[in-house]
């Protein structure tokens, strides 16, 4: 019984394939447009998903709690006295002040991220630079870079080395200097930091610790790693969704195109269906045949479009959508995304492409299947 059913489907599939082959030009055109639609949507989804994944990886090692001082709602330098207060909260394993900021370099027309690393800071007068900085200033170890400090005087740095390339996403625009140089360049007084980071022993206590810090230091703002992650997730979701909504016009156009293609039956095709019905095929058989043809086209286009999107994003760096999804900066790192395929994403993409196509072709298929044999064979 099942064997009979399978062989029946196989013959039907054979017939559908040969019928598709007989109208090669028309079907290839449809397939090309269909593949293109899947490709565009798949690229958007794969890219935004991969970049979310990347953000999560980067933030994995970031501190659990960041404490910033606020003055009139704006971020301000935090006094070292706050460090003691934070260390005094039970559950905090360690707290340190960080020094970091942005420096605009007119020579490169780019912003660098200046930082004082926590361990092994460079010697005063030297700097470690990221790959992006090295490229934009054409600097090699031993070269000298000079910048205007906050008071207008020149501060010189000798490049001690460049940072490893495999962490390009975080390090491309980094410029690591010693604490003394940092304070000299920006005029940050001793005993002040940009912000304070704290690590918490028990991850379940993070929220409680944050509440205690908030109670002890009312002039601060506390940012949790989870919140940053969540915000990144939301932002990328939102960008992806926006792009999809904009592209829904394309999906609609594709639906109309599919409808047109499916309803424009040639006289020959109508004759064919007429003959099939004359030799005993039923309307439901013809519908099944046509549905099978649609399924072949759908699955081929979906697979091809998805693979092309995958190549586009993970091998060519998604040149088509990069600026919209990623945001932009002069010194944006050139990095390769980690390939990542997600089940939910594939299912969603399937809903976005195959479902509209199938809906759009139902009526034309039915029209074709209900023609009367005597009308078309005359």
């Amino acid at each position: 019984m099942t064997a009979g059913w399978i062989s029946r489907q196989r013959h039907l599939l054979d017939f559908a394939l040969s019928s598709l082959g007989r109208r090669r030009g028309k079907n290839l055109g449809l397939l090309a447009v269909y593949t293109l639609v899947v490709f565009v949507l798949a690229s958007v989804m794969l890219f935004s998903h991969a970049i979310r994944h990347e953000a999560r990886l980067v933030l994995k090692d970031s501190p659990e709690v960041v404490v910033q001082k606020l003055v009139a709602g704006r971020h301000d330098l935090i006094p070292a006295g706050h460090l003691e207060a934070i260390r005094g909260v039970r559950g905090v394993r360690a707290a340190e002040g960080r020094l970091w900021g942005y420096l605009f370099d007119p020579a490169a027309a780019a912003n660098y991220t200046l930082m004082v690393p926590r361990d092994q800071p460079p010697a005063p007068g030297t700097a470690l630079i990221g790959s992006g900085v090295a490229a934009v200033r054409d600097a090699a170890p031993g070269d000298t870079l000079s910048f205007r400090a906050h008071d207008g005087q020149l501060v010189q740095f000798t490049v001690a080395g460049t940072l490893e390339r495999d962490s390009a996403l975080v390090s491309a625009d980094l410029f690591l200097v010693s604490e003394a140089d940092f304070r000299r360049l920006f005029g940050v007084p001793e005993g002040r930091f940009t912000d304070i980071v704290a690590s918490v022993r028990n991850p379940r206590e993070i929220r409680t610790v944050a509440e205690k810090i908030d109670a002890a230091l009312p002039d601060t703002r506390i940012i949790l790693r989870d919140e940053i992650l969540r915000t990144y997730d939301s932002v990328f979701d939102w960008r992806e969704g926006m792009l999809l909504v904009l592209l829904s016009g394309a999906i609609l156009a594709f639906g109309i195109f599919a409808w047109e293609k499916a309803s424009g039956l040639s006289a020959e095709e109508r004759r064919e269906i007429g003959i099939l019905k004359a030799v005993g095929w039923e309307t439901s058989d013809v519908i099944r045949l046509k549905t099978l043809e649609g399924m072949v086209i759908s699955l081929t286009a979906f697979l091809a479009g998805y693979v092309l999107g995958y190549l586009h994003v993970f091998h060519f760096g998604a040149p088509l959508f990069e600026p919209v999804l990623k945001g932009w900066a002069v010194l944006y790192p050139d990095f390769r995304l980690t390939p990542f395929v997600d089940e939910l994403q594939v299912a969603t993409l399937f809903f976005f492409t195959v479902f509209p196509y199938t809906v759009a072709t139902v009526v034309p298929i039915w029209r074709a299947a209900t023609v009367d044999p005597d009308q078309v064979m005359r």
Binding site: D237, V245, F351
Partner: protein
Amino acid sequence: MLFQPAIIALILASAVSTLMLASSLPFVVRVLRRWDMASGAETQLEMERRTYLVATLLKLVLVAQGAALVLFVFNADRMASLFTGAMCAVGTLKVDRWGFPALYLHMAVFFLSAFWLVLNHVDNLGWDYPLIRLKYAALLGLAPVVAVAGGVQLAYFLGLRADVITSCCSTLFSGNGITVTSNALAAMPHGVALGLLAAGLAAVAASGAHFLLRGSGGVVHALASAAVLGIGLAAVVSTISVYVYELPHHHCPFCLLKREYGHVGYALYLPLFLGTVCGVGGGIAARTRRHPSLALAAPRAARRLVGVSLACFAAFGVVALWLVLRSHLILFEAAP
């Protein structure tokens, strides 16, 4: 509202489904009022033709609704990272008061759609459209449910705001506190839950075997299948989930679907749902054999459905048993 691709896809699917169902309603009314196989009038021929279109459209809609249920749960689970305090689908669904109603309506639509598809399949087996009135009358009942489900889902998604603090599974299913149905379920004693499940599965097996051997009692099997769905879900919430997590107070039915637990929830829910669909569907098919044109075909279809439902329930029972046996948690001490 959240601009999430999966959310947009779900809204798209429910909007298209509702639209297609609504647009077929005038035809449904016409069939109910004017259908007459004996007539050779042009309107009758036209209706016979059009019924293929409507049936194909509905098949598509209802299959899409089944897929939407899976996507809905999957997406709810995934979105938990967007809400403070939410760790799985429960948290996401509790963010808004429409969350759980949306899920229940999705499930209702899934089952009603599946039953309708069975009816449609059986109808196509006969040469004279024996069930056409019944089929389309059922559609009059199904269409509002799909529309309401779409509306509730939309309300849920519109109400979603990231970062709302929500309660999560550990407090929700802990057996005390707010009285949600699930809490009552979670509080069910383990022995009672497992005993009921065993009894239910035995009843299903007996009624199914009886139907396969004697060809009668399809309705009993359908009722037993529907009962096992409820009993099975209760047992999962109260006892089987506890065995999986190896934590006596963690009753969440959604965490089972997560990767940490090897997606084992799918192995439980899919056979349970499919078994119920086929079991009840078998009962429906068995009831239709009174029509002369279905006298042969309907029992055959019913037997096949009942066979599949038995296989599914057996798979569910085996998976549940395996989960209990492999667990390191001991809920029942053997007598010394």
